[in-house]
């Protein structure tokens, strides 16, 4: 059964259609890559699934339950967590406190929340920075903190919005490893990414958006050989 279903979702801002009539499913345990040129509507799609926007048309279902129209905190409680493209750490809090704040979603006492937080921090490789105030973290670590924080809400589905952008090659490898490990834990992942190498390597399925419309959907192989996708990314192929 599919874990998340996006059915005919459109999102209008004024007269502009940021997303028009997009549908796709995510199977439990899969990694779904969401790609497309700038302005294709990828982050808008995240904001619709996450509840920041109620879709203008269409519906989103999570585990068969309609979640479009719910508030972000309700959707998070149901088991959908996300990270932000523009990282939003709780700046004046330490790394540990950041993660504890989200661990409190499922537990009520400090000890349990701290146990969860420490485990997620170790998992994402931030254990050397537990007591650093998050304002002072370099970008790569802030991106990891976003992931740790999202994981601390103990989600069934994790949405990663460009968690690799701006990372150096070493950090990139680490992050790919982290995502593989998250998948091993049985958490379904939806990921927005520009690094084609990364997305091709880790995704089970890929959905391509362009100008708010679904251009293609399929396995990495199918997408790589799809002339429409190549055109959207590289411009029209020269007719010889």
């Amino acid at each position: 059964m599919s874990l998340l279903q996006v059915k005919g979702v459109s999102m209008f801002f004024g007269g502009l259609a940021a997303i028009s009539d997009v549908s796709f499913d995510i199977q439990k345990g899969d990694i779904l890559g969401l790609i497309g040129p700038n302005g294709a509507g990828k982050t808008t799609m995240f904001n619709v699934v996450n509840g920041f926007y109620a879709p203008s048309r269409g519906e989103v279902f999570f585990k068969g339950k309609k979640i479009s129209g719910l508030k972000p905190h309700q959707i998070c409680k149901l088991g959908v967590a996300r990270t932000f493209q523009v990282v939003k750490p709780l700046q004046r809090m330490s790394v540990l406190d950041n993660v504890i704040a989200s661990a409190y979603l499922r537990v009520n006492n400090r000890g349990e929340a701290e146990d969860i937080a420490r485990e997620k921090i170790k998992f994402t490789g931030l254990h050397d920075d537990v007591n650093v105030i998050s304002k002072g973290l370099p970008l790569g670590k802030r991106k990891k903190l976003e992931i740790a924080r999202a994981l601390a809400t103990q989600p069934e589905m994790l949405m990663l919005d460009e968690s690799f952008a701006g990372l150096n090659p070493a950090e990139l490898d680490e992050s790919i490893e982290i995502i593989r490990k998250i998948k091993e834990r049985g958490i379904t992942i939806m990921i927005i990414e520009h690094h084609m190498k990364v997305i091709m390597a880790i995704s089970d399925r890929i959905v391509v958006l362009s100008y708010g419309q679904k251009l293609a959907e399929g396995t990495p192989n199918e997408i790589g050989n799809n002339p429409l996708v190549v055109e959207a990314y590289l411009g029209e192929a020269e007719s010889a």
Binding site: F52, A81, K88, P89, L90, M93, L105, N108, T153
Partner: protein
């Protein structure tokens, strides 16, 4: 040692009246403690939860008038105002919060500022109920001596201190700070920001309201210009926390001590007394430039600044 510091300070304060301070000194002490209660309550909402209110006079005044109206209309002891204002101010905060908590940042600040003024004008004009600008005079004062007033406000302050300390260290405290740091991130991490902001506002409002009810009992006279005052209540509350240190445990106490003493001192200077608010304004500018985290928050920096002056002098 540091863990017991609050208890030690409480014990010292508790024996102070026994050694026979002058009435004036007792009055100053009572004011300092009352203002630290208001400062603590503002700090919970403004410092920890990040919702900067310019209208705490609204809660102070509603608390004060709860006690006053009980006396003037229902012929009950105004002391009943203390427990009753918990209910009255909580309801009032819920209604007000429903309106102002939809707004963020500067818009929230402006809406709270307006709410304080709306309450003042309402109290001035609803003559049948509040007595209008004539105010309410409590003719039967409970005590002439200050001692018992001192103990009552001391108990209120101690309870407030321990409650806020517990709160800030709990799940709620984490949620408040998360909301302050980034409301969207907090919301997407499963924090019901509307609910928790409302909780912060209610707790903050009720504590300020209790201080207001105490004020009615202590001063024996209230009118809208005094208890709903923008500059003398709302702004001073913010100054106390700014001077002491936003989002610190001790900030409101240090701030209240400095502000009350400073106000008393400046008022006593001939020819300058009327200009005390000018001095507050200058003080606030100095604090914002040199100690943006307040005296408690920037204590290390303050020590360095003072040390520097000594070294060069």
């Amino acid at each position: 040692m540091k863990r017991y510091l609050p208890l030690i300070i409480l014990a010292i304060l508790a024996v102070l009246p026994v050694i026979g301070l002058s009435t004036y000194m007792m009055h100053i002490l009572i004011l300092v403690i009352m203002w630290s209660v208001i400062g603590m309550s503002w700090n919970l909402l403004g410092g920890y939860c990040g919702q900067v209110s310019f209208g705490h006079a609204a809660y102070f005044g509603v608390g004060a008038y709860t006690a006053g109206v009980l006396y003037s209309k229902f012929d009950l002891s105004p002391w009943w105002g203390l427990p009753l204002c918990v209910v009255v101010v909580a309801l009032f905060s819920l209604v007000l919060g429903f309106i102002v908590l939809r707004l963020r940042g500067p818009f929230f600040a402006l809406a709270t500022l307006a709410s304080g003024e709306v309450m003042r004008i309402t109290a001035e004009n609803w003559v049948d109920f509040t007595g209008g600008t004539m105010g309410i005079l409590i003719q039967r004062r409970t005590w002439v001596e200050k001692t018992w007033y001192f103990y009552i406000i001391l108990i209120i302050a101690a309870l407030t201190f321990f409650m806020i300390k517990k709160l800030v260290e709990s799940k709620l405290g984490y949620y408040f700070v998360a909301i302050r740091e980034d409301q969207d991130a907090a919301e997407s991490l499963g924090i019901n920001t509307t609910l928790y902001k409302t909780i912060a506002l209610c707790i903050s409002g009720v504590i300020t309201g209790i201080a207001g009810a105490f004020y009615t009992n202590y001063m024996g006279y209230i009118d809208p210009h005094v208890v709903f005052a923008l500059h003398d209540i709302s702004i001073i509350t913010i100054m106390i926390v700014m001077v002491g240190g936003v989002a610190t445990f001790w900030g409101p106490y240090v701030g209240a001590l400095i502000m009350v003493l400073l106000a008393e001192y400046i008022r006593s200077i001939p020819g300058l007394g009327a200009a005390h608010q000018t001095f507050f304004g200058i003080l606030l500018i100095v604090i914002i430039i040199f100690l943006p985290n307040g005296i408690v928050g920037d204590f290390q920096k303050l020590k360095r600044l003072v040390g520097l002056r000594r070294a060069s002098g």
